[in-house]
């Protein structure tokens, strides 16, 4: 600790340079924070709550519907604890740019299946009692300033009513929050019975099923049983874990995420190069001083540690500041206005970032430190 003063005065030696170096490290780590938030947004909340949930969809593609009576047949399969379904409604609120998902579901069994959606008990009761009722996630409710009791008209791009009208009206009876940060609170859910009775065409068919299994360890086998049950029927199924299903959606965007990530890592590397160079430059300039320290009895190891401590201090200071800024900015949410609902920085990446900054300090300080350690006293003093 007694050397802290020495390290500090070394850093203050050329204030402009120290500040500039610090700032470029800060920028690199702000970038790192953004990168992790973008990656999070593109790969979605892959760490799903339900390792015990499976998604069953039509084998050819998700746009093909499955019969509603599959539910009963699935419930009879051993190991299946619960079954519920959703259907893609494809609605537009006011402007096609206001995209969010709206799906008809069976309220009770749907909420039981998704405990990560937190809906107050009285709102749940209200939903069960209101045929045209709908519940909406907090972020969409905030976005359009919807309150409980509002009537919202949503025009479906797919489903017309029997009267030929494509605009459906729902009563907002509840607003749900997410239990975890990666719970998507943009969708709106409304009642399937209302939907099925009023829709023109497609009666008795649903989009996809969610199954909860008793034992997550058995999920793969149960998935095979489900697919076997409907083999050679008019609507064959494909069953996969919910996590894989959502990840597959992210992979539809696919290569772009990969390209962005790899380009960004390349540049993270370049900014580090700039910083590393500055640190080693500052050590070179101090050759004489380091020689003096050795001459008055500082050991090789101590001189090396001093240089390393200096670069690590700089890197960690910059890294932590950068991560903090990135954290503050990304916690304000999606910068694109609705295209990336899950834009945030996971804690895991915060930790990785701190480790990175330590690594940066060691890597950038290593060669200058080695140089300082090997310094011959006589030669170094000649430079003064």
């Amino acid at each position: 600790m007694k050397f802290l003063h020495l390290i500090g005065s070394n850093l203050r030696r050329k204030k402009t340079r120290t500040v500039l170096t610090l700032l470029s490290i800060v920028v690199a780590f702000v970038l790192f924070g953004f990168l992790s938030a973008i990656k999070q947004a593109l790969t979605g909340g892959v760490v799903m709550e339900g390792a015990n949930r499976l998604i069953v969809r039509h084998k050819v593609s998700i746009i093909q519907m499955l019969p509603e009576n599959y539910k009963m047949r699935m419930e009879r399969i051993p190991g299946v604890a619960a079954v519920t379904h959703q259907t893609w409604f494809g609605g537009v609120y006011q402007d096609p740019k206001n995209f969010f998902m709206q799906n008809p579901v069976v309220p009770g069994e749907f909420l039981d299946m998704h405990p990560e959606m937190l809906l107050p008990a009285e709102q749940r009761q209200a939903w069960l009692a209101t045929r045209t009722g709908a519940v909406v996630g907090r972020s969409t409710a905030d976005r359009f300033h919807w309150k409980i009791g509002d009537k919202v008209p949503i025009r479906s791009t797919i489903w017309g009513q029997k009267n030929g009208n494509f605009t459906w009206e729902f009563d907002i009876v509840g607003i749900y929050d997410g239990k975890e940060k990666n719970t998507d609170t943009t969708p709106l859910f409304f009642r399937y019975d209302y939907f099925d009775e009023a829709r023109r065409g497609g009666t008795g068919t649903v989009g996809w099923y969610t199954i909860r299994v008793n034992d997550p360890g058995q999920a793969a086998e149960i998935g095979k049983l489900v697919d076997a049950e409907f083999e050679n029927s008019a609507a064959e199924t494909k069953t996969e874990p919910e996590g894989a299903f959502i990840q597959a959606w992210a992979k539809q965007v696919g290569d772009i995420a990969l390209i962005t990530a790899s380009i960004l890592s390349a540049v993270f590397f370049t900014i580090l190069l700039v910083t590393g160079n500055t640190i080693s430059q500052s050590v070179r300039e101090r050759t004489g001083e380091l020689g003096m320290l050795k001459a008055i009895g500082f050991t090789n190891t101590l001189v090396m540690s001093l240089v390393l401590a200096e670069s690590c201090l700089l890197a960690v200071l910059g890294g932590v500041t950068g991560l903090a800024i990135a954290w503050l900015v990304t916690s304000r949410g999606d910068p694109t206005g609705g295209l990336l609902p899950l834009f945030y920085m996971p804690y895991r990446d915060l930790l990785v970032g701190v480790l990175f900054s330590v690594a940066l300090g060691i890597v950038t300080g290593f060669f200058p430190a080695l140089q300082a350690m090997r310094l011959q006293v006589a030669e170094a003093l000649r430079k003064i």
């Binding site: 340079r17 500039l20 920028v27 494809g90 992979k251 960004l264 540049v267 700039v274 160079n277 694109t336």
Partner: protein, 399 residues
Amino acid sequence: MAGPRNWLSQVVAVTQFGILSLPQRRGSAAAATFGIAGVVAVLVGVLSVAEGFRQAMNASGSPDTALVLRGGADSEMVSGFTRDSTRIIANAPGVASGPAGPAASAELFVIINLPKLSTGSDVNVPLRGVERPALGVRDDLRIVEGRMFEWGKDEVIVGRGAAREFAGLKVGDQIKVGRYNWPVVGIFEAGGGAAESEIWSDAAVLQAAYHRGDSFQSVYVRLQSVDAFGRFKDSVTADPRLNAQVYRQTDYYAEHSTAVTKLVTTLGYLIASLMAVGAVFGALNTMYSSVSARGREIATLRALGFGSTAVVVSVMLESVALAVLGGTLGALISFVAFNGFHTATMNWQSFSQVTFALAVTPPLLVQGVVLATLIGCVGGLLPALRAARLPIAASLREL
């Protein structure tokens, strides 16, 4: 008062000093240059994704073709027409006539799941059922391998992009649609447009496989001329028997590309501007060390009567020269690495994959070099001012 010629020769002289002493500072100069190269490479690289996607979508239609969808439908996926409606549309005024009746093709548009080769996971590949006039409507379509499918037969042809990006779409392969297996008999090109991401079959065959009865989802028509669009649109939208909306094909695809291009462009600029800030710090460092290393030379020149503006300009010139060098390097790197790189992504409006090639265009390269120049200017200005303000006497005393 020095004349402009004299001033210019002063600038040249000081700049020369700077450039000649560069090798002594090659470490920091190289770091700044590579830093700027990285910024430019990333900016151009990310924007080339958006540009490539936009180009593929723009190549997907010509202004004298139109697309008709059901009123309220924002994509083919959710649209629907009966055969009667498609007949009325085909016979509307403004539609060009083909060898056998009007140049209008009523089509089906569905998706099937196929594994993407690059990731191995299932993606939504568009499968389109077309009628005979389709080839007259899209006159840039040509078969590059195998042959056209036979009408009425369970056969498909595959766009070149789809064949490259998704598994099991080579000539001789079979795709499984429900209980049917359809052989791939040919590969086609369509001017690099979105159709190259699709699989095509006879609409009648697809109707049967998907239990669609005698219904379609969209009608593609070739117009008599570019100007016939208004006439065609008015007559279709005014017809009380129809509930339809009409798009010029170019507008339709342009609209569909905005979501993806906006997302990618926003992210690209966000990242690039952050990095640019980092690069400015790198450039500032380099130029400050350049100025302090040459303190004595600059002071000597000033003592000899060189003007301070000449010093400012020359330091700026050095900084900008390094930045432009870095920018050009970055632009070249991104051109070599990204231009023409084939990939595919999700078009959220049509709910299906679009294959495209990244496009590093001259405007993007220029944009990259301009950014580099800006970084150079900002990074050079403060050090230049410091150089000009160096106290001459004090600096000379260090001699």
